[in-house]
């Protein structure tokens, strides 16, 4: 397959497309705190009351992490095939595309993060639960290839229930595919930062999500190999409080840090500067 195809115009971030009227109120699913929708939006969908991180769309992460006007999205024309002829898969894809957009479960882009050129891939849970099939694997492989060619650091933000069952063992193989690309980046000393959001489980957590040179997680995110329901079933008892949360993984040494969404851009920039031998950014060093 060709690595480069014609590229589309970058998409507008969701918040610019949706004009939020000033008098709409929203309620936090976690603590019940009620506030202006606009206030939630300005706070990158983190509850001003309790700090609960609501789910963001992939395009919102692009807008949040990359500098304005620098975003160039890639491979927007990749679509899922139906390699197994799996029952109802084409109709499920059509439905997901209509509801969540045409980009399958990941957006990939090149842009600048605090002035540093980076390649960024963001999974979108809204598209079939962020499930990883061939399109997700191929987009990550191509993004990784771009990083190899231009020596740009790679950042992947995960939000996924795991492999996409409807593509069978080919979905499973995307784990090996993505890991092979990351190994190439590693051998060439190109930094890779993995950011885990709610949820990151299954085949995604057991491949690229856990392979970062730095691994960051959003507060409260559920992260694990097996989903909590499966483990509860095998155990036949309730899971301990806070099991498989970002904080639990931090305690068990599985992630480098838990980082609130508002801090993500600064922390990622700081890490990338350290790992690529760049001087500290103005205004960030002391923050």
């Amino acid at each position: 397959m060709a690595w480069f195809r014609k590229e589309k115009q970058p998409r507008q971030p969701l918040r610019q497309r949706l004009e939020i009227p000033p008098d709409v109120w929203e309620k936090c699913e976690q603590c019940g705190h009620t506030d202006l929708a606009e206030k939630f939006a300005r706070n990158v969908e983190v509850c001003p009351g309790c700090g609960h991180h609501r789910r963001l769309r992939a395009s919102e992460y692009l807008a949040m992490l990359l500098d304005e006007g620098t975003i160039e999205e890639h491979d927007t024309d990749l679509r899922s095939a139906d390699p197994l002829g799996f029952p109802d898969y084409p109709s499920r894809i059509r439905k997901a595309s209509a509801n969540a957009g045409e980009s399958d479960a990941i957006l990939t882009a090149t842009g600048q993060l605090g002035g540093l050129p980076v390649n960024l891939g963001v999974m979108d849970f809204a598209f079939m639960g962020g499930s990883m099939g061939s399109v997700v694997g191929e987009k990550i492989a191509r993004l990784g290839q771009r990083s190899l060619e231009r020596k740009y650091p790679l950042i992947l933000i995960s939000a996924s229930g795991g492999a996409r069952m409807q593509e069978g063992v080919l979905s499973l193989m995307q784990m090996a595919k993505a890991s092979a690309v990351l190994a190439q980046l590693g051998d060439r000393r190109i930094p890779y930062i993995s950011i885990l959001t709610n949820p990151t489980t299954g085949g995604v957590s057991a491949s690229y999500a856990m392979l970062g040179d730095a691994i960051l997680a959003e507060p409260g995110a559920v992260i694990g190999f097996a989903g909590p329901r499966v483990i509860k079933q095998t155990l036949g008892q309730d899971l301990p409080e806070g099991f498989q949360t970002a904080e639990f993984l931090l305690d068990h040494g599985m992630v480098d840090d838990v980082v609130p969404r508002k801090e993500l851009k600064r922390v990622v920039g700081q890490l990338l500067r350290h790992m690529s031998g760049k001087p500290a950014a103005a205004g960030w060093a002391s923050a």
């Binding site: 397959m1 195809r5 014609k6 024309d77 990749l78 679509r79 899922s80 095939a81 390699p83 197994l84 799996f86 029952p87 099939g133 061939s134 399109v135 694997g137 191929e138 492999a163 069952m165 593509e167 069978g168 063992v169 080919l170 979905s171 499973l172 193989m173 995307q174 784990m175 090996a176 595919k177 890991s179 092979a180 690309v181 990351l182 190994a183 190439q184 590693g186 051998d187 085949g203 957590s205 057991a206 491949s207 690229y208 999500a209 856990m210 392979l211 992260i223 694990g224 190999f225 097996a226 499966v230 483990i231 095998t234 155990l235 899971l239 301990p240 099991f243 498989q244 040494g253 599985m254």
Partner: protein, 324 residues
């Protein structure tokens, strides 16, 4: 466990019983009875062949999980010499769901690493039904690195329902352990041959499966999810035969399916009646296939080997590139 019979194996067992009875009653009249037994034996062989040629995907799952099917250590015993098992991940503990060690194949040293199921309940408890904890994968990686250090090829055997899902496994980083193996196997500078000998269950199987050559026994299966799990998610019924059959068909988990999808390289034919009917014959097939594959791979320079391995996995998957 010698009596374990799958439903579709019953006609075979019935014929075997008839032949056995004839033999027993023959005392002193072996010659006359031999004439009666011969056509029955021929019938038995063709019955076995017939039944096994027409196995449904779900029946293959049952064969792949058969308690008498040869396991990793059976193949080690039957087609290798000079075996010495190695234990532990050097960090937490030994995990008996994966067996690993040095052996010789055709006189040459190899590193063998495979999932190991138990033949009976007691052994299955010790080996956790071949479902590794993170320590198992870390032991596997430690020994792959050891093989690389001494430039010895790695042979892996895949036979697991999946990686273990439990509290300790999560606490100790099941995801990281599997991911690390995928990463390191894609850059290990010695030949790797993986063989799916039984059930290839999801990420827990793939963690031993990133290889230059992936072989698969005819009636083995390899899947992203168990048929039970798939049926439970899609049709809220992981128990009934009908739903499990539907899932087994839909997931394309048989050796011919996987060959067509480009996930495996070669299918190893099984003796009539499956590998458990004649483990020695299955082991001979495996032995010859491994020797042949190793001979080819040993000729390839490390850089080229790695490039080919990487390209093979990078090519996996199917996408449509449209301008729509």
């Amino acid at each position: 466990m010698g009596t374990t019979l799958l439903e579709f194996e019953k006609p075979i067992a019935e014929l075997e019983r008839q032949i056995e009875e004839l033999r027993k009653s023959a005392e002193g009249h072996e010659v006359e009875v031999a004439a009666e037994i011969a056509p029955l034996s021929a019938k038995l062989e063709s019955l076995k062949a017939d039944i096994y040629r027409n196995l449904t995907p779900l029946q293959r799952v049952q064969v792949a999980r058969h308690p008498r099917r040869p396991f990793t250590l059976d193949y080690v015993r039957l087609c290798m010499t000079d075996w010495i098992e190695l234990h532990g991940d050097r960090a937490f503990r030994e995990d008996a769901a994966i067996a690993a060690g040095w052996a010789r194949l055709d006189g040459e040293t190899v590193m063998v690493i495979g999932h190991q199921r138990g033949r009976d309940t007691k052994e299955n408890l010790r080996r956790n039904f071949g479902m590794p904890h993170p320590e198992g994968y870390r032991k596997a990686l430690r020994l792959m690195k050891l093989a690389e250090k001494f430039q010895v090829p790695v042979l892996t055997f895949i036979d697991t329902p999946g990686a273990w899902a439990g509290l300790g496994a999560e606490e100790r980083g099941q995801s990281e352990a599997i991911a690390r193996n995928l990463y390191e196997m894609s850059r290990l500078t010695v030949p790797i041959i993986a063989t799916v000998i039984g059930e290839g269950g999801s990420g827990g199987a793939l963690a031993l499966g990133v290889a230059d050559r992936v072989l698969m026994f005819e009636h083995s299966v390899y899947s992203v999810i168990t048929v039970e799990g798939c049926a439970a998610i899609l049709w809220k019924d992981g128990k009934s035969i009908e739903m499990r059959e539907r899932a087994a068909d839909a997931l394309r988990i048989t050796a011919p399916d996987l060959k067509r999808l480009g996930v495996i390289d070669d299918i190893l034919p099984e003796p009539a009646g499956g590998a458990h009917a004649d483990p020695e014959a299955a082991a001979r097939t495996l032995h010859d296939a491994l020797v042949e594959a190793l001979e080819t791979l040993k000729e390839i320079k490390p850089e080229k080997l790695l490039r080919r391995r990487r390209e093979k996995f990078l090519a996996m998957g199917q996408v449509v590139e449209s301008d729509a």
